[in-house]
């Protein structure tokens, strides 16, 4: 199988791997780079589970080709925690039970992260709208909404304290 060289900046690190040309970003992240935190639920762009951020925007990695992402920053769930400290969204998801089986969680976290970058004080309706492309079968979404709201309040307080 023909392989090509793929250069990606993933979670702040320059990575270079050889991968079959038709491999999706999902496959390259999970298989060639060992970043198994990114999950898959359908591999057809239907469930949102495999969402990562490319250039800060949510992308379904099962539908993206790595060549499309070259030169842009890719963020996976492994890139959310900094220096061993969980991101406020991760902390809130853990505390409130927003991750039951945890399989859809990486996708939800990354979409929520992008939402908060653009809208630091979203309403419940805006949170629901932003997360509408991600399916979760465990939680009924309610604890996920609450966790995003808890993270919003903590990040707002932290930002206020920093000013």
């Amino acid at each position: 199988m023909d392989k090509i060289r793929i250069r990606l900046k993933v979670n702040g690190e320059e990575r270079e791997v050889l991968a079959p040309v038709h491999h999706t970003l999902l496959e390259v992240l999970r298989e060639e780079m060992g970043l198994t935190g990114t999950k898959h639920g359908c591999e057809l762009g239907e469930c949102g589970t495999c969402t990562v951020l490319v250039g800060g925007r949510p992308v379904l990695s099962c539908l993206a080709l790595p060549v499309e992402c070259e030169g842009r920053e890719v963020t996976t769930v492994e890139g959310l925690a900094r220096d061993g400290v969980l991101h406020p969204l991760q902390q809130a998801f853990a505390e409130l039970g927003a991750a039951q089986c945890g399989y859809c969680t990486p996708g939800f976290l990354l979409v929520a992260d992008e939402l908060l970058r653009h809208n630091p004080r979203p309403t419940r309706a805006q949170i629901a709208e932003a997360l509408a492309g991600n399916l979760c079968r465990c939680t009924g979404y309610l604890k996920i909404f609450e966790a995003v709201e808890l993270a919003v309040s903590r990040m707002g307080a932290a930002a206020g304290a920093a000013v």
Binding site: M1, P20, G34, T36, G37, T38, K39, H40, G41, C42, E43, L44, E46, C47, T49, T76, V77, E78, L80, A81, L86, Q90, Q91, F93, A94, E95, L96, G97, A99, Q100, C101, G102, Y103, C104, T105, P106, L109, I127, A128, E129, L131, A132, G133, N134, L135, C136, R137, C138, T139, G140, Y141, L142, K143, I144, F145
Partner: protein, 793 residues
């Protein structure tokens, strides 16, 4: 065990022990397992719903560069199945395929693409047989048979029981009502696709990592089919990315991964595609139901007669249990003095049905709770008051000999009625808006194991390290419900340490004592009781050593926050670690085991293996909704749900289960359904199989009711499945309040609503099942053991 209330850990909304790993993305699910030299396998599946296999030729596939091994059915000729009475599956079909998606052959290759490519080179000759696609089909066409077993034709199992003189009960009634309902099949749709890695070592032993809820049963199936001693097989259930019952059967792909590893001497991974997950199925049975109830004018039930007809799909799976469950739990909520149940399950050429959250009971509960609203309407009774006044008393033994212990149903109903304002709202919300109510019950674990044995259902082993760390070993499987955390909370509470001091090792048949698995809502109650026993046993020498050191009676000791102290003089204290060092110095290495087996059921009839439980949980739900008369679209505006959980070991986790159940119930009642056309699953994808998104999920007010049941650890009952049950009929009842029409089938889609409003909706029909001759079950007489007599009608 419900005597204490001064807990450190129990009842507190603590973080799950595995929460950090879940949010960090470091949890290792089955498809995340990567081993050196690992191969990738794919399975060829039948394109026909029903066909004889004339030949399978894998030679062209085997010759493809990159292919390492192939596998066909005759290499795994031994049948298996979850129930001993229906060992009707093969890892790869032997001589017949029974549904589109039935696996036929497999290939292991250096990579997944090559394996997939090789499948196209497998030549299979089929002789196509006419498919059986519905209960009506199965009854009308007894031949060709899908399986060569069962009472006759394509009937898999049929039952009929009389509990009391039902004819007399109907004769005494002032009012008799009959209704027919249909519940369409739907599927679990766990976010994680099933995956398995088999690894056969040079030591001649095989290890399987799998997304399974029941590693113990997979272990047994592997030993049988691979013809290996159990002691040479290790099954590790990875944390499941959602189960809901869909990962409770042993599956062909698990066996195939092991066998291909044995053939190649290399690890082999199989990850199913989403389409294949739809074919694995084992989801909600489509069930047609007929219910007839006799009542006095005041609403007192004199008799009930219930019939079910289940479309089982292509294999037995849990189906015999599912069938019994469609008749078992009608009696454990409200007073039903005489009861008759007739049921039948047929085989059809569709993916096999099995247990989905609520296993066989959401369908009859839906029918019963809608039927209750209907007869209350007939008699001019208030449906809320009827339910509250007719709930069973604690300790009741029902007509079908189910033993009710504590029952919080009345309190659940009262609380949702009060919180929702049901009494003021019903009939008064205005055009297109309505409110509905329902109650329900579920088991806290099945009273009997899947295969007959007298051993514990759950075992826990505890090892205490001299540094104060505690390891808890248990065969239970965390599928997201938090069963690992429950073990940690209970052991931490008993030893007076923190959950974070505990390492939980679960679901590994080499390392952990058997737990039967994450099904039947059994885990908190059964592993919890086993953990309590183990913890109290391992605590004894630690407390005795501490008592001697502190010179106080051992029963005066208290423990918490990693300390042990004298209740009469809290200044006299040791750290947990100090006490452990003293104890280990005195008695040697510290460890203990505990186990749990449910109490023997009082029921004495054949078939009473399904329904008994250590204790029932209870739920009640009120739903307020808006329905659009033009489009038929139903929007649920708000849900109130109360659940009798016995005691919340962790209310945060209980609420998560309750909310998740509400969500899944709403999906089932409004949109989720399996659709087939000429043997093909029409919508085997997450886009077309509609499930609720964030935009459909209404606000939910959850109320936890605690009854402190003596059977449960600290009084706890189940909470993972029961709260789904009342949601579905509550929506149907609310829709009647909103529009004045009844849709007597699930899902209630906009097309059906519009048809009903236009007078075009015909309602479901009961298939013409000829039920078997009735077994009249004599009432229990505690003094003399009852015997079952067959009566011919």
């Amino acid at each position: 065990m419900a005597e204490r209330d001064d807990f450190d850990i129990i009842g507190k909304p603590l973080v799950k022990v595995d929460a950090a790993a879940k949010v960090a993305g470091t949890t290792v699910f089955a498809d995340d397992v990567v081993l050196p030299r690992m191969l990738f396998a794919r399975m060829l599946r039948s394109p026909h719903p029903h066909a004889r296999i004339l030949s399978v030729d894998v030679s062209r596939a085997a010759a493809l560069p990159g292919v390492v091994a192939t596998l066909v059915g005759r290499e795994l000729p031994i049948p298996f199945g979850i129930l001993p009475v229906s060992q009707d599956e093969h890892a790869l079909a032997l001589d017949k395929v029974r549904f589109v998606g039935d696996p036929v052959a497999a290939v292991a290759a250096l990579d997944e693409e090559t394996a997939e490519e090789a499948l196209k080179l497998i030549d299979v000759d089929y002789e196509v047989l006419p498919p059986v696609m519905s209960v009506e089909d199965a009854l009308a066409r007894p031949a060709p048979r899908i399986h060569e077993y069962g009472p006759h034709g394509n009937v898999h199992k049929e039952v009929s029981f009389d509990f009391g003189d039902v004819a007399q009960g109907f004769a005494e009634a002032d009012h008799v009502r009959e209704d027919t309902f249909f519940f369409e099949g739907n599927t679990h749709l766990p976010m994680e696709q099933h995956a398995a890695v088999g690894s056969f070592g040079p030591d001649g032993k095989v290890t399987l990592w799998s997304a399974t809820q029941t590693p113990h049963y997979v272990h047994r199936a592997l030993a049988k089919v691979l013809e290996m001693p159990s002691s040479h097989i290790r099954v590790i259930a990875c944390p499941n990315g959602g189960g809901f019952g869909g990962k409770s059967d042993p599956f062909g792909h698990e066996i195939v991964a092991c066998k291909l590893s044995m053939k190649t001497g290399r690890p082999v991974k199989i990850t199913l595609t989403r389409e294949e997950v739809f074919y694995c199925h084992r989801g909600r049975h489509p069930v047609a139901m007929w219910i007839k109830t006799g009542l006095k004018r005041d609403g007192t039930i004199t008799a009930m007669h219930f019939r079910s007809a289940l479309d089982g799909g292509a294999y037995g799976s849990y189906g015999v249990a599912s069938l019994y469950y469609t008749g078992a739990l009608q009696t454990v909520t409200y007073r039903i003095p005489r009861y008759k149940f007739e049921g039948a399950r047929v085989f059809t050429n569709k993916p096999p049905c099995g247990p989905k959250r609520g296993h066989g009971t959401p369908q009859p509960r839906y029918a019963l709770e809608c039927h209750i609203d209907k007869f209350c309407h007939d008699l001019g009774l208030d449906p809320a008051r009827w339910r509250i006044e007719n709930t069973l008393a604690p300790g009741t033994i029902t007509a079908n000999q189910m033993q009710v212990r504590t029952i919080g149903l009345k309190e659940c109903l009262e609380k949702v009625v009060a919180a929702s304002g049901y009494g003021d709202k019903r009939g008064r919300l205005g055009p297109g808006r309505g409110i509905g109510l329902a109650g329900s019950a579920y088991i806290s674990g099945a009273g009997l194991p899947i295969y007959w044995n007298a051993m514990p259902h759950s075992g826990v082993q505890i090892k205490v390290d001299r540094g104060g760390g505690v390891a808890v070993f248990c065969g239970s499987t965390d599928i997201g419900q938090g069963s690992d955390s429950i073990l940690a909370y209970i052991v931490a509470e008993e030893l007076g340490i923190r959950p974070e001091d505990i390492r939980v090792v679960t679901a590994d048949t080499d390392l952990t004592p058997v737990d039967l698995g994450s099904y039947s809502s059994r885990v908190t109650l059964m592993t919890g009781n086993a953990a309590l026993q183990a913890a109290r046993r391992v605590r004894a020498p630690i407390f005795e050593a501490a008592a001697r050191k502190l010179d106080v009676p051992v029963d005066r000791l208290r423990a918490g926050s990693r300390r042990i102290w004298d209740a009469a003089d809290p200044g006299k204290a040791l750290t947990f670690v100090e006490a452990v060092v003293l104890a280990e110095s005195e008695v040697g290495t510290l460890g203990a085991v505990g186990s749990y087996k449910p109490p023997k059921s009082v029921a004495k009839w054949k078939g009473a293996g399904v329904g008994p439980t250590p204790t029932y949980s209870y739920s009640a739900c009120a739903v307020e909704l808006s329905a659009d008369r033009e489009t038929g679209i139903v929007r649920v505006d708000r849900v109130w749900i109360a659940h009798d959980v016995g005691r919340s070991i962790n209310p945060l986790l209980v609420l998560g289960q309750v909310e998740g159940s509400v969500y899944m119930g709403l999906g089932e009642v409004l949109m989720e359904e399996q659709v087939f056309r000429k043997g093909l699953h029409k919508i085997p994808s997450m886009l077309e199989y509609k499930s609720p998104t964030t935009l459909e999920m209404p606000p939910v007010e959850s109320i936890l009711v605690e009854t402190l049941d003596p059977a449960g650890p600290y009084g706890a009952k189940e909470c993972g499945q029961g709260p789904l049950l009342p949601v579905i009929p509550a929506v149907a009842n609310a829709l009647f309040d909103a529009l004045g029409v009844r849709i007597d089938e699930v899902p209630i889609t906009p097309e059906k609503v519009v048809a009903a409003l236009e007078g075009r909706y015909r309602g479901p029909r009961m298939p013409d099942v000829r039920y078997p001759e009735t077994v009249a079950v004599p009432p229990l007489e505690p003094a003399a053991p009852a015997t079952v007599q067959e009566t011919r009608r």
